[in-house]
Every structure is written in structure tokens, then in C-alpha cells.
Symmetry: C2
Subunit: 247 residues, 2 copies
């Protein structure tokens, strides 16, 4: 939260993104780090100890440089997050040369997998303002291309992508939050967490105001809930899109 003022009546100043500053000038001493190394180190720390553990000091320590050395490569911590997001976005591998529906399925599954593998991703995406990192843009392009030539307007194509994207992010975020609650609470399994929260749940049920939810808690077979819910939702969405657009 550095440029927080927002009240200045100044003219729209051009924002220079990291991605435009990547090529290094050929004048001074050779840099000791690359942006890739920074991104990788950040991802490692976040994977191991959570996003809050990614501090400039710890990052520098892991890279073997002084804290302030990092600021030669990034303008601030937000840039680090952006590098990290782009790094894991590269892990999204889309299937080649299939129809839009297969590609959407692949994109959804991969995005969810990445979000679960890197449990900090959801929080990072919610924090950083600039989300058009190169690797993400590349996936968007692939998705749009699969929808091209079906007689849709570009706005509609983007809406299709946006719908799938929004669902996957929301579903993954929910799932991650539940898993994180288990981890941060110090419980070994979801079962232990359920036991720990039992008094609260009992209190909820005891109020008598949530009969349907109570039925879900008691009757529901909560086996592999998340995966099944995700696939159910995704197929509904793809069905709805196909029907509405006639594709």
C-alpha cells in the first residue's frame, strides 16, 4: 500500500510494469540474481510456510543477498507477488488441439490443481492489483483461440472464459480456505478439525434455526466432497454455455 493517496489531480501517469523492465542495461556490474530466482525462492517459501512468511528479509536470506539488494530487481513487494503468480501460472499445461469444451475442462482442472498445490495463490491474487502477467495472458489467448471460428463475438468469447475462470477461482478459494483452517489450527487431519469445531457446530444445530443445513451435516456423505462438487459445478456450467450459445 505505497501509492495509497489517490486524491492527486495529476494527469494519468504511465505505469511501467515489471515485464517491461526485464531487459538489463549493459553498463554496470553483472547482476547476481535473476527474476526467475526471486520468483522461485518466493514460491518455495510460500509453499513451505505460507504467504505471510514471504518477507523481503527472508527472501533475501534464502537467496544469499542483503535485503535491500532485492530492490534492484523489484519495485516493491507487490512485484514479488506478481513474479510468483506468473511463475506458478506457467505450470498450467493445456491439452493441445482439442475442442473448446475439452480445453475449458483442462484449463479448469489445471488451474484448480495449481491453486491447491500453491495454497497461497488465492490470497496473492486477491492482493496484487496487476493480474495480466505474461503466462496468464498466454492461457487466456489459448482459451479464446479455442472459441474462435464458432461464430461468436469476441465479447461473448471473453464472457465464456470469464465465467469458467470465475467459477474455478471461487471454488478453489473455498477449498483452500477450508484446508488452511485445518493447517493453521494445528490439526493433523480434517477429521480432527471437525472434532475441534464440534462444539460450535453443535451450538449451530442447537439453535434450531438451520434445519436444512443440519440435515446436510448429519445425512451428507462428505466423502471426497470437494472434487465431486467441483466437477458437478463445472459440467453444469459447460452445459449451460453450450446450450445457450448453441456450440
Amino acid at each position: 500500500m505505497t501509492a495509497e493517496d489517490g486524491d492527486g489531480g495529476t494527469a494519468p501517469e504511465a505505469r511501467v510494469t515489471i515485464w517491461e523492465r526485464l531487459e538489463r542495461p549493459a553498463r554496470g556490474p553483472r547482476p547476481a540474481l535473476t527474476h526467475d530466482q526471486i520468483a522461485r525462492a518466493g514460491v518455495e517459501i510460500a509453499d513451505e510456510q505460507g504467504l505471510d512468511a514471504v518477507s523481503m528479509r527472508r527472501l533475501a536470506e534464502r537467496l544469499g543477498v542483503a535485503t535491500m539488494a532485492l530492490y534492484r530487481y523489484v519495485a516493491g513487494k507487490d512485484d514479488v507477488l506478481e513474479l510468483m503468480i506468473d511463475a506458478v501460472a506457467a505450470e498450467i499445461e493445456l491439452p493441445r488441439a482439442t475442442g473448446w469444451r475439452e480445453l475449458a475442462r483442462g484449463f479448469a482442472g489445471e488451474l484448480r490443481a495449481v491453486g491447491l498445490r500453491h495454497h497461497w495463490l488465492t490470497a496473492a491474487l486477491a492482493r496484487t492489483p496487476h493480474v495480466l502477467t505474461p503466462n496468464l495472458v498466454e492461457r487466456v489467448e489459448d482459451m479464446l483461440r479455442s472459441l474462435d471460428g464458432l461464430g461468436l463475438e469476441v465479447d461473448t468469447m471473453m464472457a465464456v472464459f470469464g465465467t469458467v475462470n470465475a467459477f474455478v477461482r471461487g471454488a478453489t478459494a473455498d477449498e483452500v480456505i477450508r484446508r488452511e483452517a485445518v493447517r493453521r489450527g494445528g490439526w493433523a487431519s480434517e477429521e480432527e478439525a471437525r472434532i475441534a469445531y464440534l462444539p460450535y457446530v453443535r451450538w449451530l444445530i442447537g439453535t434450531g434455526r438451520y434445519p436444512t443445513l443440519t440435515r446436510y451435516i448429519i445425512e451428507g456423505s462428505n466423502e471426497d466432497d470437494s472434487q465431486w462438487q467441483f466437477e458437478f459445478g463445472l459440467e453444469c456450467i459447460l452445459d449451460g454455455i453450450a446450450a445457450r450459445l448453441g456450440i
Copy 2:
């Protein structure tokens, strides 16, 4: 990130949520604050200056008490976030006595409206571990009840709710991020932001690797994009659910 260890082999300890600690004992001096006031003050600060501005010090200052006084009412900052989330969740007003589809539409629209009105909500939901606040639970119950009696299993009912919920949260998050980028960049309008990012977009287009995205940028009529995209996606989802479940 207080209970971050997660390695202790201790037994599953019961977690006592705020909601169970709300009733006060009748012994000591009268409390100067209520949880409601704390929630309201937090929401005000976040609305005005963003979620990062909600610090225990600032919160206490606005309430006219010392910083540490807050800790008589909350166990830590996470509790404050939870109170804030529950406070704005109360703003979700569902239509009465309609079919599941109308109710889902209402829920979606209201949740999106709340998320846009309180632009910090998305980030808050991504940070706090415990998301079963009373007011949220109440909305879940209403949604589930509207699906009851249609011959669905409880798991399916919950999946329907989860799908709609995930989509709305994802879509709203995306929208908020875009708006926040404008605000934090200090630009007065989205048009100014577009101009500021023009060099980057030009660079993206210049690479020639994103032809379909380029077409969207050039041909797309980006008028009221978000609202239209949201409604398009929502209707597709409701269509798909109705068709798949025969309801």
C-alpha cells in the same frame, strides 16, 4: 499468523469461536464497547482506506479506547476480520418465498453488490480461516431450504449452492481487483487507467503472440462489460443446473 507451528503432536483441541463468547458475565465493570461497534468501525475504516488500513491501533483510535482494550473483545486481528465479514453479510437481503432460481439470482446479485460496495471483502475472505459466521450460515440455510422438496439429495443441494457461490465470489473478486487497480494507481477513471497501461498493452499486442486477445481489445465493445458478463455467466450456470437436475 499466530498459531503457525502446526507440528505439535497434541490432541485436537477444541476451538472456541467468537460467536460462542458473545454473552458477557455480570461481574466486573461495564464494558465500554460492543462487538457491533467494533465490527462497524472496522468496516468504516476498510471502506474508506482499504483493508490494510484496519490496524488494531487505528481501530482503537476510532473507537476512543486504548489499543489493548480491544483484546478484551477479540482474541486477535482475525476475530476482527470475522466480525467485519459477518457485519456486511447481514446486508445480503434475499427475496422471500420464491423458487430456487429466483432466490439464487437474488443471492448472487446481493452478494456481488456487497462485494463491490465493500471492496475489501474478497481479500478478507481469502485471509481468514473461519468462514461460518452466523449471518453467512443463515443465507446458506435459506438457499438450501429453497432447494428442499425437489427430490434432491442434500449433497446435491449443497453442490448447487456451492457452484453459484463459487462463481459469484470469483467474478466479484475479478471485478474488484480491476477497480482497485484503478484506485490504487491514483487514476480517476477506468479510461485513465487504460491510457496508463497502454504502453504495456501495446507491448503485448506488439509481440504478435496474442492475436485473439488483440481482437478482443480492438473490436470488443467494452461497455458495461462486468455487469453483462456477470449476468451471462449466472444464467448459463442456472440453465445448466436446471437441465442437469431436471428442476
